[in-house]
Symmetry: C2
Subunit: 407 residues, 2 copies
């Protein structure tokens, strides 16, 4: 691993991903195993003019100790310091950078799945959903750090260099001018969102092996690329890589069943062949070849966790998909193919939602939950159609090829 | 490194050091390089019944980025989350465990010394001094984790196993029953504190090469071993190892000069051959062969930082001293020989201080500062005498041999 590559990556994360503004506080989080990138990002953030970089390392083994040996109340408890941390970050219009790339994606697989799925800092999740996702006060991004354990999960051997090459390709760090490459890439995705918005869709349907699911949209549902802007006008790219166009569906309108097409790595457990049946928008059965208890416990977190909060389309041109790899990291795997999320809706994909109260958003049909878990449902065998408000059926994806043209 | 040794060490830290009580919150801090011990302590704490273990990893490289590239205000700023963290810990009568053992003791040596010495979270220091040291609300301990970088500093090569053996010997982990060994050891030190208290000393004098310093005590100064008890009655051992008996001197009465007998590792810089001259209790000149700017900046932090807050006696029976090593870690080096500290006094060594206000403590002569930095002033060439209230001179240490007998 060259230090120069690490520094270039950190620059890209700070300048394009979070787009840190001079004078901002920067919330920087990762696992202890991510220290080299965390350090490089801290340097890049201060160089970009950050007022303060507040680093917080998570440790999956300490979390394991809590789930294995801690009392029941510990599982969902939020230390007051973390409430202060995120409320202050939002109050100050700070930036936030999360580093992922799990060195041990199945660390918790031998523990009681119900406890693993329930282990979630509910109040932090609520603050994050409210102030970052809904109020859009923070310019944030999620990026990955290639590490030995993660490489071993992907390749069966700790070939970190090979993982670095894959990650660099996916985040366009292989381009001579990555910043320009990102600008062009986001323009392509934004064009797709315009094509979809022009159709005036009422619902989308996924059909493939084990899957026939129709998801209703709200009249206010807008398709977007993941090119975000904070409420105070700061653009940022929340995921690096990103290959999707997404919207927020009507939480009351999902009918049918869906089978995941890629494994879903929840923190510490892998859910394989997830199958969910929806009636009236609600998950009425949840099965899986592994990790079913973890997924079921997460879906039982609150009322909204059993309903959909996102539907996203990705085609075969995705750099992530083209690697042919399963990353066991949602940041990558969700950008390899189409995905949907159970849990809270994404406010910026709902027209006018910034002027609505929570009750008004619910009345529109937007879902509310502290959970938001994406899982992969697309691929060459899955056809995606759109049904328009005026009654037409429009093919959107066939054999991973984008069917729409124009603008 | 055997996992079994690590687990035994973590047990000792939790049971004897912090003495975690069932139902307590545990504040657990270390560097990212200390993750293996941090994880073992988290497991041991939950097994001992901890309600929640809140881990916080510090990263010296992120701190370096702040000092090197951050704005001036960042140096002394305290993120609100940390104020909440420590106030809540004290409110809840939690336990606290800090892991030390610096893998890069000279990481900051090439930076501007004045900035390095000034870099200190003033509000956290203040909260810690007030609620932990003065109000004694938290059962806390400081312990060390042998790691490669630290071993390289001590031995010139990363011989972690050799460092583990030295640490295990110092913390009595080599004993068949370390808990019993600690009980006996603390009784020996407590016996010494009784001998000193029986003398009714008015001052102590250190004489050796470059040193002739007389430090006045208050009538309320009591000698103690580092066997602490919280205000709510929980015993704990704040340092592992500990070999000292200490008291809090009169901040107005230090006269003469002192030369440090061991290097002092401040975070990121090593102060060698520190020489301080005191007049009327106050440091009027500060010199050093290296790190003088760092020490001077620290001593300029507040009014009390230039005055003494502790005087501690250690003889040649110290296990730390017997290793013959310089650890470049104050936790160890201060327990190899006599030391004094510039900065805040230790409330539990001042009789009746728990019933006094801050102003009343100052009026007695106890020092107040957010700083408390121990440095080593003893050794075989340094004679220590006590002057009693009734005018006698009593030899206390000669050639590192304890001169008092009785009880």
């Amino acid at each position: 691993m060259s230090d120069e590559r690490l520094e270039r990556y950190a620059e890209l994360v700070v300048r394009v991903g979070a787009n840190v503004a001079p004078g901002q506080i920067v919330d920087l989080r990762g696992l202890v195993e991510h220290a080299p990138l965390v350090r490089a990002i801290a340097r890049a953030a201060y160089t970009a003019g950050a007022r303060y970089v507040e680093t917080l390392y998570n440790d999956a083994h300490v979390r394991r100790a809590m789930i294995e040996h801690g009392p029941d109340e510990a599982l969902t408890w939020t230390p007051p310091s973390l409430k202060t941390r995120f409320e202050h970050l939002a109050d100050e219009r700070g930036a936030s950078i999360l580093v992922v790339g799990d060195p041990e994606p199945e660390l918790l697989a031998d523990l009681e799945g119900e406890r693993v799925g329930r282990a979630m800092m509910l109040e932090v999740q609520e603050i994050f959903r409210r102030r970052v996702i809904t109020e859009q006060l923070v310019n944030w991004t999620i990026v990955a750090y290639p590490n030995e354990g993660w490489a071993a999960s992907v390749f069966g051997e700790p070939d970190v260099e090979r993982l670095w090459e894959a990650v660099a390709y996916c985040v366009r760090l292989d381009e001579p001018d990555p910043v320009a490459a990102w600008r062009d890439h986001m323009a392509t995705l934004q064009n797709r969102s315009k094509q979809l918005n022009a159709l005036d869709l009422d619902s989308v349907r996924f059909r493939g092996p084990g899957t026939d699911l129709t998801i209703g949209l709200m009249p206010e549902s807008e398709w977007h690329a993941a090119a975000f802007t904070t409420s105070w006008g700061r653009p940022h790219v929340p995921n690096m890589p990103t290959e999707e166009v997404y919207t927020t569906p009507d939480r009351r309108r999902a009918e049918g069943r869906v089978r995941s097409t890629r494994p879903l790595a929840l923190t510490g457990a892998i859910v394989r062949e997830l199958e969910i049946e929806f009636e009236g928008g609600r998950a009425v059965s949840v099965d899986a070849a592994s990790g079913a208890d973890v997924a079921r416990a997460e879906i039982a977190t609150d009322e909204g966790a059993a309903r959909l909060g996102e539907v996203a389309l990705v085609d075969g041109t995705s750099r992530v998909g083209r690697t042919g790899l399963t990353f066991f990291s949602t940041l990558f795997d969700e950008n390899a193919t189409c995905h949907i999320a159970y849990g809270g809706g994404v406010a910026n994909a709902v027209r006018g939602s910034d002027k609505l109260s929570g009750d008004e958003r619910l009345a529109l049909g937007m879902n509310e939950s502290v959970v938001h878990t994406d899982f992969m449902v697309g691929g060459p065998e899955v056809e995606v159609d759109g049904f328009t408000v005026d009654g037409r059926t429009v093919p959107i994806l066939r054999e991973d090829v984008w069917q729409l043209t124009g603008t």
